[in-house]
């Protein structure tokens, strides 16, 4: 009986927090747009810097779009726990009795919906700019859909560790970029394989494995990091 009650309140807390975070994000719409605009600007800089040759652009398109997605994610990550940390809400979450892991997971989900999903939805436009073959667009979208949650999940650990610092954002990129290396490699390899007409499902499988692993482990690490930062 009590068990059922507590599990109900767990999912209740999860959805309540998710709803609250999404609501807060949509009340601050301009802030919501910054990472997206950043993504567009970064990708548009590449043709300007490298030259408009369609073949070269198509060749580097997966890498450029993915690196831009990494940068945009890191830019948006700082907001994941920042405002809750500064006004003391995070401490209230800790003493609320709900596991901090669950709270982190809810906040990570909200972050992905706000910062990761727009990247996935925008990628047809980016692919168009970068002259990516239409056949590989679907694969690019799939890799982004599977990979950007991992970026949010791993990034949450870095944010948890740097949250108590005033200028944590600069350190954050140093902490998380090395951890993003495998995702970048596998995702771009999938798109390149698709462009070359090679099989690519194994890469998507690896990305899914990465997603499952990080969903199960990263919230615990993020919660531990937050506890250290709040101590």
């Amino acid at each position: 009986m009590t068990r059922e009650k507590s599990s109900a309140s767990l999912s209740g807390a999860f959805y309540a927090l998710l709803r609250r975070d999404l609501l807060l994000a949509f009340r601050r719409r301009t802030e919501l747009l910054f990472p997206v605009i950043f993504l567009l600007v970064v990708v548009s800089l590449f043709p300007l810097g490298i030259g408009p040759g369609p073949q070269l652009l198509a060749r580097i398109a997966p890498g450029v779009i993915w690196i831009a997605a990494l940068l945009a994610t890191v830019i948006s990550l700082d907001g994941l726990f920042r405002s809750d940390f500064e006004d003391g809400t995070l401490e209230q979450f800790v003493i609320s009795g709900h596991p901090l892991t669950l709270i982190s997971l809810a906040k990570i989900c909200a972050h992905w919906l706000v910062a990761g999903l727009p990247i996935v939805l925008l990628c047809p436009l980016l692919a168009l700019w970068m002259n990516l073959p239409v056949e590989s667009l679907g694969v690019l979208m799939l890799t982004l859909a599977l990979g950007t949650p991992v970026l949010s999940l791993i990034g949450s650990i870095g944010v948890g560790l740097t949250i108590s610092l005033k200028r944590g954002g600069q350190l954050l990129s140093l902490l998380v970029f090395p951890l993003y290396v495998p995702i970048l490699i596998i995702a771009t390899a999938a798109v390149m394989a698709a462009s070359d007409g090679l099989p690519y499902t194994q890469f998507l499988g690896l990305l899914t494995a990465g997603l499952i692993t990080s969903v199960t482990l990263a919230p615990f690490a993020a919660a531990a990091a937050l506890k250290i930062s709040l101590s």
Partner: protein, 262 residues
């Protein structure tokens, strides 16, 4: 508290437990490591001198690479150490987070600069070795790349530790980062390895062949052993200084410094 009294009641029965227990106390650790450090330095110096003598004067020149292969005696032990120190740092970080032993926190954090230095030496010597053998200073070879990522991981740990003012909180945060990095390190290593074969094909093999003549192999093994003593000596020296700094207002440090003056 109960375990402490239990240990104190029967100190002779488990000497090892007693020893580990005592090592958790900063003054005891400081004194013990102070006795150990000169020996570690001495063993390191003699082993390294022996290995360098064998490697630089006794070992014959490589038939393919000439004299330049002798960089191996610095490069390979450094690369091994860079991996080993990260592993030991992560294990110590785990112990520090679970049992909250301050000495282990200090040791884990003192490992990071040593490991970063070894990683840098491995990268720099590898780059210098690459010039005569591969014709270029830098190749996006799988090992070089994962070594570079390892350096970034070390820099992240050091950066995080230095950014947080309170030493214990900083150590705990950096220990957690070290553990996360250690979980990721194999994944990074294999993904980079596999990325390299995918993108440019492995035209270069770093080791060449596994058949090394004993006269070339022995100096390498002795050097590999010597740098472990270097790690121990450097680690303990750093940890001692860090402990003095953290405990500078405590009685035992005053006593130690007073003794040094007289």
């Amino acid at each position: 508290m109960t375990t402490e009294t239990a240990i104190q009641n029967k100190p002779r029965k488990n000497a090892l437990v007693m020893f580990i227990h005592k090592m958790g106390s900063p003054p005891w650790f400081y004194n013990f490591s102070g006795k150990l450090v000169p020996w570690l330095w001495a063993v390191f110096c003699s082993l390294a001198a022996w290995a360098l003598y064998l490697g630089l004067f006794k070992a014959p020149a490589d038939y393919l690479q000439g004299e330049s292969f002798r960089i191996m005696y610095i490069h390979v032990p450094s690369a091994w150490m860079s991996m080993m120190i990260y592993t030991s740092m992560a294990i110590m970080g785990f112990i520090a987070l679970v049992w909250r032993i301050r000495i282990v926190e200090v040791l884990a954090m003192s490992s990071a600069p040593v490991g970063a230095a070894f990683t840098f030496v491995a990268l720099a010597s590898g780059s210098l070795w690459g010039r005569p053998t591969w014709g270029t200073y830098w190749v996006w070879d799988a090992r070089l790349t994962s070594e570079l990522v390892l350096l970034f991981l070390y820099l992240g740990v050091i950066g995080l530790y230095n950014a947080i003012d309170e030493p214990r909180k900083a150590a705990r945060a950096a220990c957690l980062l070290a553990i996360v990095g250690a979980v990721n390190l194999p994944i990074i290593h294999y993904s980079v390895k596999w990325w390299n074969t995918l993108h440019q094909g492995s035209s270069i093999s770093v080791t060449g062949g596994s058949n090394i003549d004993p006269s070339m192999l022995w100096p390498l093994l002795i050097m590999a052993l010597a740098v472990k003593f270097y790690y121990g000596a450097n680690l303990l020296t750093r940890a001692r200084v860090r402990l003095l700094e953290q405990d500078k207002r405590k009685a035992w440090v005053r006593k130690v410094i007073g003794e040094d003056k007289s």
